[in-house]
Symmetry: D2
Subunit: 150 residues, 4 copies
Amino acid sequence: MTSPEVASAHEASVDVEVRYAETDQMGVVHHRHHIVWFELARTHLCAATGTTYPEIEALGYFLMLSGVEVRYRAAVRYGEVARVTSRVVELTSRSLIFGYEIRVGERLCATGRTEHVWVRRADMKPVRIPEVLRPGFSRIAGDAAKPPLR
Amino acid sequence: MTSPEVASAHEASVDVEVRYAETDQMGVVHHRHHIVWFELARTHLCAATGTTYPEIEALGYFLMLSGVEVRYRAAVRYGEVARVTSRVVELTSRSLIFGYEIRVGERLCATGRTEHVWVRRADMKPVRIPEVLRPGFSRIAGDAAKPPLR
Amino acid sequence: MTSPEVASAHEASVDVEVRYAETDQMGVVHHRHHIVWFELARTHLCAATGTTYPEIEALGYFLMLSGVEVRYRAAVRYGEVARVTSRVVELTSRSLIFGYEIRVGERLCATGRTEHVWVRRADMKPVRIPEVLRPGFSRIAGDAAKPPLR
Amino acid sequence: MTSPEVASAHEASVDVEVRYAETDQMGVVHHRHHIVWFELARTHLCAATGTTYPEIEALGYFLMLSGVEVRYRAAVRYGEVARVTSRVVELTSRSLIFGYEIRVGERLCATGRTEHVWVRRADMKPVRIPEVLRPGFSRIAGDAAKPPLR
């Protein structure tokens, strides 16, 4: 039922070398940094739409974060490299949900999601996804795009 | 049905002066900092048990964070003071859920929750809440304490 | 030689409750946070000019940081409250140097300085201190103001 | 006068993709992050001694930071990749000074240095460089090693 086009949905992954500054006195990466790493993977995924996030801002829009959830499953430590993967979980005409995974080798360290709405930079008001960005985001969303976006 | 003791459940609030370093290029506080502010309010709430969090660590335990959720409702800006409030939402013999609110004046800026498990510092294994900490946490939890803790 | 006016130079101090998130796996506050604390004290000192830093930005200027030095003398730990003090060390028509001290009780933990230049927000070009800000900054600078500012 | 061995002093460079979370409301990377990037480059340089920094800690030592200086020359922005280079500037039996450069392409964005002393993890007391680490650090220091280390 899934068209070949739809099946080509993208994931983006980025390898993050843990920084000493990211540890806390428990001796592990402090939990706020996972959210920064999600953002880094999301930057890569946005670039896969054909428009980088700096370009989106230059067009006059923000993909403003409205919610975040993280489940921590295993510690990440200094000296390790974490692979952070992001994909679109839901795309509507006004909002976007990304899903994430953080792994060190085979070890699953965290999963999470972030919710976003499009806002116009000039007045910070919510808007529909700008027409120019729609094809690229629909493409990376694949099955996750709700009609009429898919 | 609620005993007077149970009704004495605590909340802890802390006023946070927004730091320039906490803003991002959207001109608002970056979303990771809300989680750090939650932690600050939680530190105050733990102190209300009669045992500060540094004392808990000195006893050989961590209240390890296993999950976080935040809903962002309005931006917080440099030059503002945010009031961060924390309370216990659920207390079992092995886990703890805290709820939070961030307000600037009357404006509700964010709500959230964090989930925690007790772990023994020596081997990072999950354990029951240490006996010595039980009365204090039961007291601040009030109705949120599940039997047999309440 | 010093006029009474000049002698009224201000210092600004702010008490910072150490955040768990500010520790690293050495078990002490990571050194980058001292610089954020300096900024917080500087915000208070700017307010003492009669114009808050958000107001300075609204006027169309930045006090852009061009250099920083910190000497770390003793560790600061979670559970402690650090007092951060800032004062003007040198004020010229185009630049400003602030000095800082961080203490926990009597213990001197760090000293430092930051150098700044005035820039116009519109084009990020260096400019002279805006006339409207001159009296306030001269006043907090006291002896540290170089002629013709003093 | 310089032996061929000495001439083989190392530099370590690391490419850092700017994170959105590293920007502030001036629209540029906030100055505290340069210090975190220095640390990342220093981690790579330590690895070039043959002993990684996590291994140094496991041996029971810290290379504790006692001072930092940064000169900011040009802004770094989200969407850019910064190359951070680190080398040893001075090595004595008890202390170590590293120098750094941050560039985006040809543009020099910042230079800096950090000073460190060896401390024993058990009691945080200053010590001489552990014998086992001496050859590796002397090698990466090259001419920067003071006798008798060179």
